[in-house]
Amino acid sequence: MSAGTLASARIGVLTFPGTLDDRDAARAVRLAGGEPVSLWHADGDLHGVDAVVLPGGFSYGDYLRAGAISRFAPAMDAVVDAAKGGMPVLGICNGFQVLTEAHLLPGSMVKNDHLHFVCREQVLTVENASTAWTNRYTAGQQITIPLKNQDGQFVADERTLDELEATGRVVFRYTGWNPNGSRRDIAGITNERGNVVGLMPHPEHAVEAGFGPANEAGPRAGTDGLTFFTSVLASLVHA
């Protein structure tokens, strides 16, 4: 798309049976200045969107493995094709799990090492500020966004982890506390091209003062997650 059409950037939000956070994701897109477009798992047409968000939730009840059944939805065939063509795709929580099951991102998520569901405000360090979804952050910046999951422990073999580190594909690291036993404190990763990003914490829940995590301005004042969505709009303008 050309410069000056920022407001008309259309960001698809894909809903599966059991998705929970699609409306928050759509709202985040709108607050960032984009136009959210609802996409349905059974529809193999992405309706010409410029980017796609796979939101959090418990698609198919996490049956079999988190994200395992959603990965085979007709809409996912289209998402995989579009992602391979360079379209920005963001997977949040269950959406991240779907992206690993679809092999768009390496590794996998297993149950939290302590077996408990976690819901907290989590500090992350931005390790890579050049992806389609993080280009408005600065490398080394610390952000606080909510985290809430049961199967959030990121695992991969040592060779994959070394490769992720060596190629700058670790996008976010848990800071202060590793909430789930994730290897090397990894909270989010990207593909080689930097257009596909997945993370367990929830940027879409920290986009509006009054509803986000606490920060120095007071309780619920945090809006650190909004930058994901302004970043993708910026990347689309400059694409």
Binding site: S108, N112, A156
Partner: protein, 95 residues
Amino acid sequence: MGRVVVEVMPKPEILDPQGKAVVGALPRLGFTQFTGVRQGKRFELEVEGDVTPEVLAAAQQAAETLLSNPIIEDVVRVADAATDAAGTPAAGGVA
């Protein structure tokens, strides 16, 4: 009606938090002899008619693509439930 059994286990190098929780609970019931537990999954796939080599091959393929995630799990058994015969050589080694 035939039935194929598929068993999937977490890879040895992946910490199995559920197995760890179970092994922690066993001593509370007096089972002190079990030093480790790993928890896997068993699937029973039903087919019309007999479990042919083709059915076992398809089950093996289903096991590797949908029923397991090769990054965190191994398919340890694909077998005809009736005869308990092993499926493809890949599964036969552990059946």
